[in-house]
């Protein structure tokens, strides 16, 4: 399981057999691979060994007789003689188990871990029949909350330190630690610093006993009553491996499954956001789902039948002809995305189709940059990041990046506000909004920019020494350089970041890129043509015309409008404006950075058709609402941030009359008197593989044989792995994941036709964007995403909803001094377009001259996405003045 074990073979003797180990591999892992499972508690294959539980003791022959050694902590050496089955080993292991059980409350019948507990299992397998411990056991108050989501029962704790190590070593947030001594040692949060990690749920999952429990699962079900589906998390585009468990058609729990993408970890939103699908188990909570089609009658949305809703939609669409705009689809399955592209571009004939809401990056950049994989982080010479806070946007990608940093890979960061990555960065360059490209130029050796940046009234935003350090860390020519680029700031034009990325690609020709767009399947949606100017498979309209002519009724002849262009055309009544808007699982009224534009545009559409799983601000204004299935109800595939296609498995049935994304497209095509020609999800997948060059060779059979991590497209560009058996002690609760037919690796696959694009597509990205000079009286706005925001997943998950902060503006203390107000005072932010009242927080890490806001947080008098009220999509950057109220 250790990916970094170099393939140098060591031979040693295990219970009389000759066995091989990889160099650097621990004895416990080598033995496991050879079929000998040594019992263990503290060892976890994704963390450094510590050798504290002593359960894995084995006998090792040495010059002075044999000694007992923890097999998780010793690496086999050539000729080593090891016994795991001697009397001495047996007695030592029995002894350790008996010691572990001494103070253990043995309340298995009421314990959440009962039935899937490594302690219980190993007691059955190796333990003594009955306890010789007749003393009074240690007592603690039980259980105590150690965070908003996690409770701790100290009586059950076996002090294995998995949780504390996870916090310190993997998440880098040592917010829980041991306190006390002897058998009173306990896990505890710090009195002054709460356990607020975005990754807290992992501690619950890896706890080998029932000491840590998660509020959203406590007493929800007994493990043997649970059904499990192995799937992909669609909380964001990392696409973590998950085992989704349910009972009686309600989701009960989501567990991380080991694999090369996520290493078995999940973020808390991915883990607990299931409440937004079937509700929280302990409350009669309404997950806010749309369960029937709805039609606006007399100004009010009322439930109707599918056929009535579809006829109404078809009628509106027929009237509109090709004056139709389609926005969204980044949360759909690949098959759903393809179905909707085929409907919009191939039947309706509009190219005004955009999966992104002006919050991403241009498709030509995504397709044009040479692609990196998450696995590349493990071997990178250096990583450059230009994104918002990764631990908020793509949380588990942050963990994978942290691993690289931990191994010593230098991380160079360009950021507008210090964040999680800053804390692991080798060098971090703070830039004000609009200045990213200038700093990138300086990184590439163009010093003309320095003077310009230095001329800012507040001075240079970064330490020149950091720039030199960054330059030195970036490998010449970009060999082994992985660049993670995403939207740094939703209050500035994404073209700024795109131009900077293009410049980097030019200066570091060997660098590869992960484009960190956030929505779960935004990558699949773009690949399959849910973006203006492209047809499925990353091909331009011109290139694709002949390719699709045989199968599709039509293809658009001219590039259509992006989301912002559609809304602006609607708002201004410009020629070419769509008259009908079809919103595919999107909620522009909440998610479009320019909130006013979203409202103005939607108001002007003659008909708004919203395909949605949840009630949102936008469904409330719609004319027709069509209920769609969401995460964990769907069959199909999704594509993650790397371009990796993996399988989605349904764990529960859809509520009410919700239909799958592709079914709705098919039915709507029918209602329009057309025919998508496909009737099953497999048929859609097969057509994609047959027609879309980026997906060539991606057969259902191939996917079924690969590990749950799926396959990076184009097929053949990266090795494909089969599934390894999971260590039940490392992944308690995960039911055995079926072994996959592929061997460990299958490299020689039919070369897919090379995806079109590459450097040629980058031509569409401007070389530079001119940025207005600073205004000495204004603060330049940086707006970034948070994990817990006003989106449907969080607000509909009772466990997560309380974690959403109210909107505040963070400014440098000097800005508050100038205004003469204290931190926490409500101030007025005034942009060219609007004003917003919210508390100002003094934060000396804020770059002088900058104001930092969170996206999609509400204020006292602005529900929904307060920051969006300040942003003007037509401005390159957003300047605000801060005033007393």
């Amino acid at each position: 399981m250790a990916d970094d074990a170099t393939p140098v073979t060591i031979r040693f003797t295990l219970d009389g057999r000759e066995v091989e180990a990889n160099k650097g591999e621990m004895l416990i892992a080598a033995a496991e691979r050879s079929g000998t499972y040594i019992p263990r508690f503290c060892y976890h294959p994704r963390m450094e060994p510590v050798g504290v539980c002593r359960m894995c003791l084995v006998e090792v022959e040495g010059p002075r007789g044999t000694t007992l050694m923890p097999s998780c902590y010793i690496a086999p050496s050539d000729g080593m003689v090891v016994r795991t089955d001697s009397e001495k080993v047996k007695k030592a292991q029995d002894g350790v188990l008996e010691f572990l059980l001494a103070n253990h409350p043995l309340d298995c019948p009421v314990c959440d871990k009962g039935g899937e507990c490594p302690l219980q299992d190993q007691t059955l397998a190796y333990g003594p029949g009955e306890s010789r411990f007749i003393e009074e056991k240690r007592h603690f108050e039980k259980p105590v909350p150690i965070s908003d989501l996690v409770l701790l029962d100290r009586e059950r704790c076996i002090q294995c330190s998995r949780c504390t190590r996870f916090a310190a070593e993997v998440a880098g947030e040592a917010q829980i630690a041991f306190s006390g001594r002897g058998d009173l040692v306990e896990v505890a949060p710090f009195p002054t610093e709460p356990f607020t990690s975005h990754f807290s749920g992992n501690t619950v999952q890896i706890c080998p006993v029932g000491a840590l429990t998660a509020k959203p699962y406590r007493f929800a079900a007994r493990p043997w009553d649970l059904d499990q589906a192995e799937s992909t998390c669609t909380g964001c585009s990392v696409g973590c491996r998950v085992a989704v468990q349910s009972s009686q058609d309600r989701l009960t729990r989501v567990l991380g499954v080991d694999g090369e993408v996520s290493h078995g970890w999940l973020c808390d939103k991915g883990r607990f956001g299931f409440e937004a699908v079937t509700g929280a188990h302990d409350a009669d909570s309404e997950p806010g789902r749309v369960t029937t089609p709805m039609l606006k009658k007399n100004g009010e949305l009322v439930p109707v039948t599918w056929s009535e809703a579809l006829s109404a939609a078809a009628a509106a669409l027929s009237t509109a002809g090709s004056a139709v705009g389609v926005i969204g689809g980044a949360q759909f399955t690949n098959e759903g995305a393809y179905a909707w592209v085929k409907l919009a571009k191939g039947i309706i004939g509009t190219d005004s189709v955009d999966a992104q809401l002006d919050d991403g990056l241009p498709a030509s950049l995504v397709f044009g940059l040479p692609a990196a994989t998450i696995l590349d982080l493990d071997t990178a010479n250096a990583v450059l990041t230009i994104t918002g806070d990764l631990s908020e946007e793509l949380p588990v990608l942050f963990l994978r990046l942290r691993e690289a940093a931990h191994r010593g890979t230098p991380i160079v960061q360009i950021h507008q506000h210090p964040d999680s990555v800053t804390s692991i960065a080798h060098s971090a360059l703070a830039v004000r909004s609009g200045d990213t490209d200038a700093v990138v130029r300086m990184l590439c050796g163009d010093d003309v920019q320095a003077a310009q940046l230095r001329n800012h009234p507040e001075g240079l935003s970064f330490d020149p020494a950091a720039l030199e350090a960054a330059k030195a860390a970036l490998p010449h020519g970009g060999k082994g350089l992985v660049v993670i680029v995403g939207r740094e700031n939703l209050a500035e034009d994404g073209t700024l970041t795109a131009a900077a990325a293009k410049r980097i690609a030019g200066a570091f020709p060997e660098a590869t890129f992960l484009v960190g767009l956030r929505r779960a399947n935004v990558r699949g949606a773009l690949d399959l043509g849910l973006t203006p100017g492209f047809l499925p498979g990353r091909v331009t309209l011109a290139e694709g015309q002949s390719r699709y002519a045989g199968t599709w009724a039509t293809t658009p002849s001219a590039t259509g409008l992006s989301t912002v262009e559609q809304l602006r055309a609607l708002a201004t009544g410009a020629a070419g404006a769509p008259s009908v808007l079809v919103l595919l699982g999107s909620d522009p009224l909440t998610d479009l950075p320019d909130g006013a534009l979203a409202a103005a545009g939607l108001a002007k559409a003659t008909t708004t058709i919203v395909v949605s799983g949840h009630h949102t601000a936008t469904t409330a204004q719609a004319d027709i609402v069509l209920p769609v299935t969401v995460a964990n109800e769907r069959t199909g595939t999704t594509t993650n941030v790397e371009g990796r296609v993996s399988v989605l498995a349904p764990a529960v049935a859809a509520p009410g009359q919700a239909w799958s994304d592709w079914t709705i497209a098919t039915a709507l095509a029918d209602a329009l008197g057309a025919d998508l020609g496909l009737e099953t999800v497999d048929a859609f997948a097969a057509e994609i593989a047959a027609l879309a060059p980026s997906h060539r060779g991606l057969s259902a059979q191939l996917l079924a044989g690969a590990s749950g991590d799926g396959i990076i497209i184009p097929v053949g560009s990266s090795p494909i792995h089969g599934a390894q058996p999971l260590d039940p002690t490392a992944f308690p609760g995960v039911k055995a994941v079926p072994a996959r037919p592929l061997g460990t690796e299958q490299a020689s696959l039919p070369e897919g036709a090379p995806a079109s694009g590459g450097a040629a597509l980058l031509a569409a990205i401007p070389e530079a964007v001119s940025v207005p000079g600073p205004d000495g009286y204004a603060l330049r706005l940086t707006v970034q995403r948070r994990l817990y925001d006003g989106g449907a997943t969080v607000t509909n998950s009772p466990s997560l909803a309380p974690l959403v902060d109210g909107a505040t503006v963070k400014v440098h203390p000097s800005a508050l001094d100038r205004l003469g107000v204290a931190s926490g005072t409500v101030v007025r932010l005034r942009s060219a377009a609007a004003h917003l009242d919210l508390p100002a927080i003094s934060d000396k890490t804020v770059i002088k001259g900058t104001a930092v806001l969170s996206f999609n947080h509400a204020t006292a008098d602005h529900a929904g996405n307060a920051a969006a009220s300040l942003i003007d999509a037509s401005a390159v950057v957003t300047d605000v003045r801060m005033e007393t109220r």
Binding site: A92, R181, V185
Partner: protein, 431 residues
């Protein structure tokens, strides 16, 4: 017998002041050392056969030679002394801080270390004050800091008070604590701090008494030191004698030349068992050590001599228990100490110590069962398989396998006393 090395200033009430120290030859050894090459100083220490005085008795010269070559190395002095009945470093820290500081500087010079630490048990308030003062005075005197006595050698020395955990005396836990972490012993490998120690750099850890011998060794030569004692056990040792003796205290005794009986009975030393009673058992080298009994009294006070009888001279603390002492109670008290002080990191020690303590408590206070006696032995065996000495272990550090020593000793020798406790529903005299 009258040879004194580390307690040479014993006669002076003001032995801790720089004036007295200088008047009695302090820092002369250092000056001599600085006139020699570092290798020559090491050679003298090697020749002296100076065994570590912290418990394990590892030769200081050997340990120094194992220090991995590295741009940064550290020297750490262990003054945590927190074991019950161990108080000899306490004496040196309070009474002769300049000798300690001088010893540290000599060791640092020999090792060419430029940053050293003295980790002192936090409860030694007076000792901390005096060592701190001595260090300040040494800086003022030119014996510490830049260019010591014009030799070109520089050294900084920092005092670090412990936070009250016995386990921080274990050298790797000490290093963790010094780094600001929880005092958890480090798991092996790496086997020695000399390879990977403080902040991951090669580090020598020596006991307070060990380095307090250095000024004398340098002044008088390693050979003079080696001429004292016998075999590997050279020079003198400080013994902290306590328990049922007329004159408990710290005594400096030439190694091997005296026996346990001498130490206990000689009028200028222990002055005999209190009240003229008979010896029942002796703890020969700290509470981790297997016990001695009356027939062992003539064992010489030497490291190998005690080891030959399956125990250890350890930390040099000797506890005498007279014929009236309850062996169950003694084992219980010692086990209680260990169970409180187990760092709690590894299972057999964390859980085993508490379990053993509770069983012993029941035996002593009523509620003992016949099967408890063998249960105790078997639990001990699960911590230190085979119950041999030196012990095997299922634990990370040797605190764990130290726990069985007293229990195993007491039961092996006085099983009937345990059985009587079961019959009597507890201890008859509670002493």
């Amino acid at each position: 017998m009258s040879t004194t090395i580390v307690t040479a200033r014993r006669a002076f009430d003001d032995s801790f002041t720089i004036e007295r120290a200088l008047a009695t030859g302090a820092y002369e050894g250092l000056k001599k050392a600085l006139s020699m090459t570092p290798e020559a100083v090491c050679a003298e220490v090697d020749a002296a056969s100076l065994l570590g005085r912290g418990g394990a008795g590892f030769p200081a010269g050997r340990k120094w030679s194992m220090l991995r070559k590295n741009p940064t190395t550290y020297l750490v002095i262990n003054g945590d002394e927190s074991e019950p009945a161990t108080f000899k470093d306490h004496y040196l820290i309070e009474r002769d801080p300049h000798q300690l500081v001088e010893g540290v500087i000599i060791a640092a010079y020999a090792l060419q270390v430029t940053q050293a630490f003295i980790f002192i048990r936090g409860e030694f308030a007076l000792g901390l004050e005096r060592v701190t003062q001595a260090i300040n005075e040494a800086y003022a005197h030119g014996a510490l800091g830049r260019n010591i006595f014009g030799s070109g050698f520089s050294l900084d020395l920092v005092v670090h008070p412990g936070a009250g955990a016995y386990i921080c005396g274990e050298e790797t836990a000490l290093l963790e604590s010094l780094e600001g972490k929880r005092g958890f012993p480090r798991i092996k490998p790496p086997f020695f701090p000399a390879a990977i120690g403080l902040y991951g750099e090669p580090t020598v850890v020596n006991n307070v008494e060990t380095v307090s011998n250095l000024p004398w060794i340098v002044s008088n030569g390693g050979a003079a030191f080696a001429a004292l004692g016998e075999g590997r056990s050279t020079g003198t040792r400080l013994f902290a004698l306590s328990g049922d003796v007329e004159r408990p205290g710290v005594f400096e005794v030439e190694m091997v030349k005296s026996t346990f009986r001498d130490l206990i009975e000689r009028p200028e030393l222990g002055g005999g068992v209190r009240g003229g009673k008979a010896v029942k058992a002796i703890i020969p080298g700290g509470v981790s050590a297997p016990w001695f009994f009356p027939e062992d009294l003539d064992t010489p006070l030497g490291q190998d001599e005690v080891a030959a009888k399956n125990s250890m001279l350890g930390s040099g603390s000797i506890v005498v228990m007279d014929e009236t002492r309850c062996m169950v109670r003694a084992a219980w008290r010692i086990t209680k100490f260990f169970s409180r002080e187990s760092c709690g990191q590894c299972t057999p020690c964390r859980e085993g110590s508490g379990w053993l303590e509770r069983v012993l408590y029941r035996l002593e206070h009523g509620g003992g069962r016949m099967e408890d006696v063998d249960l105790l032995l078997d639990l001990c065996d699960n911590i230190a398989p085979g119950l041999t000495w030196p012990p095997q272990q299922t634990t990370i550090c040797v605190l764990g396998p130290s726990i069985p020593s007293s229990i195993h000793s007491a039961i092996s020798r006085f099983r009937e006393e345990f059985i009587a406790h079961v019959h009597d529903g507890g201890c008859r005299h509670g002493r």
